[in-house]
Symmetry: C3
Subunit: 137 residues, 3 copies
Amino acid sequence: MVEIEVRTSARTDFVDVTRQVQAAVGRLQVADGAVVVFNPHTTAGVTVNEGADPDVVRDLAAILERAVPWSGGYRHAEGNAAAHAKAVLTGSSVTLLVRGGQLALGTWQAVWFCDYDGPRERRLWVGALGAAPGVGG
Amino acid sequence: MVEIEVRTSARTDFVDVTRQVQAAVGRLQVADGAVVVFNPHTTAGVTVNEGADPDVVRDLAAILERAVPWSGGYRHAEGNAAAHAKAVLTGSSVTLLVRGGQLALGTWQAVWFCDYDGPRERRLWVGALGAAPGVGG
Amino acid sequence: MVEIEVRTSARTDFVDVTRQVQAAVGRLQVADGAVVVFNPHTTAGVTVNEGADPDVVRDLAAILERAVPWSGGYRHAEGNAAAHAKAVLTGSSVTLLVRGGQLALGTWQAVWFCDYDGPRERRLWVGALGAAPGVGG
């Protein structure tokens, strides 16, 4: 498995990691199959969404903050309960198909690392999932 | 990988694609293993939930609309920021186990394509994930 | 595939199943690869988040209840529409990497079964996903 390093620069920060994930696909020598991109942090997530207009993830940050405000009378003593909840809503991994060594993404899709308790140095793990035996593609 | 075509008929529309996914499992010749059903759109998602009572997905649509209203003073110039956020909350793919060539789903589960910016012609990609070597099942 | 049994003890109840999933990895003889932990219920989900402080999942339960109240004028006649919606927001499965026979989780991560319509006897299915051929790790 390949580790990707991500530096975030705000409490809530979305970083487009599509190129790093594609590089990991190359290093893992996946031709046809799939990879899982796994986020090992509990106050961050990973998702797939539009990469063209940066306003999309800005709106996403605002929508999540409205649904899960940072200050909400939570019990968790570290004070970042909202970040944990946003991480659950986002999800801890994405599974991506690979064809001919390239990530199979829709035209507008990018892979986003989603920090909800930054800024921090973060990591993503990319692991290969094989194609089923006997499958021609 | 196999492509499924989905035609949606409203801005928010949930379409049960379980039969098409099962057909894709057959075409991919997956006996025991898993498939990923991947949605390549940024204003749609895919999920697994009840298929018996259509009121469940109607309620889901209303619940998501309440949490993420279509009009919310968003920045994204295309006007569909809410659809992008709902797509993130829903998720871009589901991973399903396959036993004896059949999707392993719970009694009440169906696979749903979730359009949040329809009506449109949409697609899903189904790819096979192999069972681990040496695993008997 | 290996089945895990989970007994929940409240309507909304989060149960740490990390040890049972690790035991399933052993039974499936996965050395290096991945597993999918699939929830076959439509009013429950599975997620990955902090396992150290039980207040984190208590806060998560409260946050979800605020976003999706149990009583909301829903149509679904069984009265548990909110549980279905929370299940969709949580997700029906998690995919976890395995290295040297051990789940590759972040320091603070645990695997949580999330019941939104308990208490009940519930199940999770764990299936192995192979590493891609020719991948050394």
